[in-house]
């Protein structure tokens, strides 16, 4: 680790620390329906949305109605995205003619299973991509289907978090807010204006934004180079801000047109954490004790910094097998050292490690370096971040409600040790809350472990529908040994956690993987959201127990430690066997020089 690398990580963290409060305070006002400085401009737009959809702004919903609205919205979103993809040949802004007769030779076919996977992926805020953007999708699909879901799925996540916050804040109430209003407010006041600013900044730095067909260049040495184009900057901004992560291009944020400079890279990372970090403040503010929000923020920070430095340490230490070939691993002023396989020179080791942590702490899934090529422990960090459910700042909204789920579990287990029925934010944590938290935990663990288990052993007849020419589901892997298993484990962890990043060596564009990862994404999204909304509804109906010295304090270092411990131990206990057979054993094997 170099002083400069540490400086990059620490200064990024300080930036998030500084932005959390203003962002959180702004969102508190927005979701309370209070005026902000943007209301002059945007209030008419908000009203227009209600007018066009027939939503009544002043009517609140019970948790069941809230859930029904959310499901209805997600269902139509899915149908739209699926339909637009399948019909892209007949729709405009398709200069390369994807899905039509004159598509380029390297184009990927838009099969029903791929369209299903992609639609689920973007609707669930996962943005797992079984395809490469520049070889598969028209600009119309990228804008009208995917960019829309980048906004919508992120705003849905925030809406759920806001509803859960209300559950804690209210007492003896039936309603937890109005889904449509929360959705519109998030989109109009939070995501749109900030995305616009970020998009223009990206464009100024070199991110492209056009509807041109691909440029054919003749290189200096006289070869032909086809340079992909498209409306990238606009999608890139919301891709980060909405913790979506679905790249316009196959190489995602490593692509110079998506993320041209270290400065845009910093903005990308800040955009990922901006809303999740802000929501911790919104939480504290809304429940009437900002310390509660800061405690959550602190627990997230501890886990974030631990992950970032672990990843950075191992990436900077490099791969001994490459060192044996005469490759320098020590960093110097003129070269980055460490493990540069799958990393960009402009970002180097520290920024890539930081980004890898940030993107998997949050449910973003964008990458600036190939996680598949990380050192084993470097790859373990993203994998573990996802397996604990992306609660380290996490996805927009999803991070907060995921972390509150752990808070409920942690408070329940340890809270008993103060000799009272556990309480969190003045709400008694009882059977119902525990049950819902366990359903969520169980569903996501099951989605990862069961699918990964099946894919480790299942075989299909060669060239059959399910897995094409690969035959066995392990035939799709780009690596052998424990790392190959890591690719499978990563795929389902990423799907169930709604992350979307990949150990990208796996060729997941087959009906088997598209379908199973799609299911993992659905489980990981809705089997957390629905239980958490049930918790919100149940909490809202409860009285608030006054705080006394007999109340478990949930704002101090002790609670932060408890929460961190709960996240790590629950995650580690569930996934240790699987992890020990992939990155952990791989780490020892790499040091022994064993290759696969």
């Amino acid at each position: 680790m170099t002083p400069n690398g540490i400086l990059q990580i620490v200064s990024f963290f300080l930036l998030i620390l500084a932005l959390a409060k203003p962002m959180g305070a702004y969102m508190t006002r927005v979701f309370n329906g209070q005026r902000t400085f943007l209301h002059v401009l945007l209030r008419p737009l908000e009203r227009l949305c209600y007018a066009l959809t027939g939503v009544r702004e002043d009517v609140e919903q019970r948790w069941t109605q809230y859930t029904a609205s959310m499901l209805s919205f997600s269902l139509f979103s899915f149908v739209f995205v699926y339909g637009i993809q399948r019909l892209q040949a007949f729709l405009p802004f398709n200069p390369m003619g994807f899905s039509s007769g004159h598509a380029p030779g390297n184009a990927t076919a838009m099969t029903p299973d791929l369209a299903f996977n992609t639609a689920v992926s973007f609707v669930t805020n996962t943005n797992w991509q079984s395809y490469g953007g520049e070889t598969t999708l028209s600009y119309f699909v990228q804008m009208v289907a995917l960019t829309v879901q980048n906004f919508a799925s992120a705003a849905v996540g925030v809406a759920i978090a806001v509803a859960l916050i209300r559950g804690f804040a209210r007492q003896q109430a039936n309603a937890i807010g109005n889904f449509w209003v929360d959705l519109v407010r998030g989109t109009v006041y939070v995501f749109l204006p900030i995305s616009l600013l970020i998009a223009l900044f990206f464009a100024s730095q070199g991110a492209i934004q056009n509807l041109n067909s691909y440029t054919v260049a003749t290189t200096v040495e006289g070869k032909q180079q086809v340079i992909a184009q498209g409306p990238v900057a606009s999608q890139e901004a919301i891709k980060m801000l909405g913790t979506n992560g679905g790249g316009f291009f196959n190489a995602n944020s490593a692509h110079p047109f998506e993320n041209p400079t270290p400065l845009t890279n910093l903005v990308q990372m800040v955009a990922i954490f901006l809303i999740p970090a802000g929501l911790t403040y919104t939480f504290g503010k809304t429940v009437g004790d900002t310390r509660q929000g800061w405690a959550i923020f602190a627990a997230m920070s501890v886990l974030f910094l631990a992950g970032a430095f672990t990843l950075y340490y191992f990436e900077q230490s490099g791969n001994p097998n490459l060192q044996k070939l005469g490759i320098e691993s020590m960093a110097s002023a003129s070269q980055p050292g460490g493990n540069m396989e799958g990393k960009e020179v402009r970002f180097g080791i520290a920024a890539t490690s930081l980004f890898g942590t940030v993107t998997t702490d949050a449910s973003c899934g964008a990458v600036i370096g190939m996680h598949d090529s990380f050192t084993p422990i470097g790859g373990l960090v993203p994998l573990f971040n996802m397996e604990v459910g992306e609660v380290i700042f996490g996805g927009t909204g999803a991070g907060l409600y995921g972390m509150l789920l752990f808070a409920i579990l942690g408070v329940f287990i340890a809270g008993l040790m103060v000799g009272r029925t556990p309480e969190y934010i003045g709400k008694k944590i009882e059977g119902k809350e525990v049950k819902m938290a366990m359903i969520a935990l169980l569903a996501t663990s099951a989605a990862v472990l069961l699918f990964a288990g099946i894919s480790s052993v299942i075989t299909f007849p060669k060239d059959a529908y399910w897995n094409g020419s690969y035959g066995a589901a392990t035939g799709n892997l780009n690596n052998g040994g424990p790392h190959g298993f890591g690719e499978i484990l990563y795929a389902y962890s990423s799907g169930a956690a709604n992350n979307g990043s990949a150990f990208a060596g796996i060729n997941a564009n087959t009906p088997w993987y598209n379908l199973t990862i799609g299911l993992a994404m659905l489980i990981g999204r809705f089997l957390i959201i629905i239980p958490m909304l049930a918790v919100a509804g149940h909490l809202a109906s409860k009285k608030r127990v006054p705080v006394t010295s007999g109340t478990l304090p949930t704002h101090g270092p002790l609670f932060v430690g408890l929460l961190v411990g709960t996240v790590v131990i629950v995650g580690a206990l569930t996934f240790f066997p699987a992890l020990s057979l992939s990155p952990i054993v791989e780490h020892f094997l790499m040091n022994q020089g064993r290759l696969f």
């Binding site: 066009l52 009208v144 200096v220 070869k223 799958g342 020179v345 780009n478």
Partner: protein
Amino acid sequence: MIKQLLPGFRMVLVLTVLTGLLYPGVVTGLAQILFKHQANGSLITRNGKVIGSEIIGQNFTKPEYFHPRPSAAGSDGYDASASSGSNFGPTSQKLIDRTKASVAQLRAENPSFKPELPSDIATASASGLDPHISPASAAVQMERVAQARGVTREQVSRLTRRFTEGRDLGFLGEPRVNVLRLNLALDERFPISR
């Protein structure tokens, strides 16, 4: 649930227009006005022909040019319509084989360079389109480039320094050399008569 269907349908439509058409439309319009060069790919033209993008790497194999990093984009590398990394894991035999070949080639092409190779020059980038190499990786190749162009290493080195970008804001990212821009400058300053 049925009662929620209609607003759901309408809301998807409204948000699609707002965020799928209006938003990218506005960004495209503004970017095309404000940052026309960047928004269209920072393309470089010579004699009215596009020869590449400033920020997209392209392959160089000739001795008089600085060579970029190995690329996994497309079947031959540096395919800017098929960005990709190698996705070789740390215990991959293929990774070691490929790196071994790159190292051998580098050693053969730059026989005067004896120390350990910089970590970036024999490894594939994430995008396969990395426009940069580290200053150390440029240094590996200076002797060869100077020889091929019939100039001194010092002259090449000086030019390389001019094209070395520092860290953004002094601490972000890594120092780097843009291979295409440096090679274009080489052609300009130290042209080879063919």
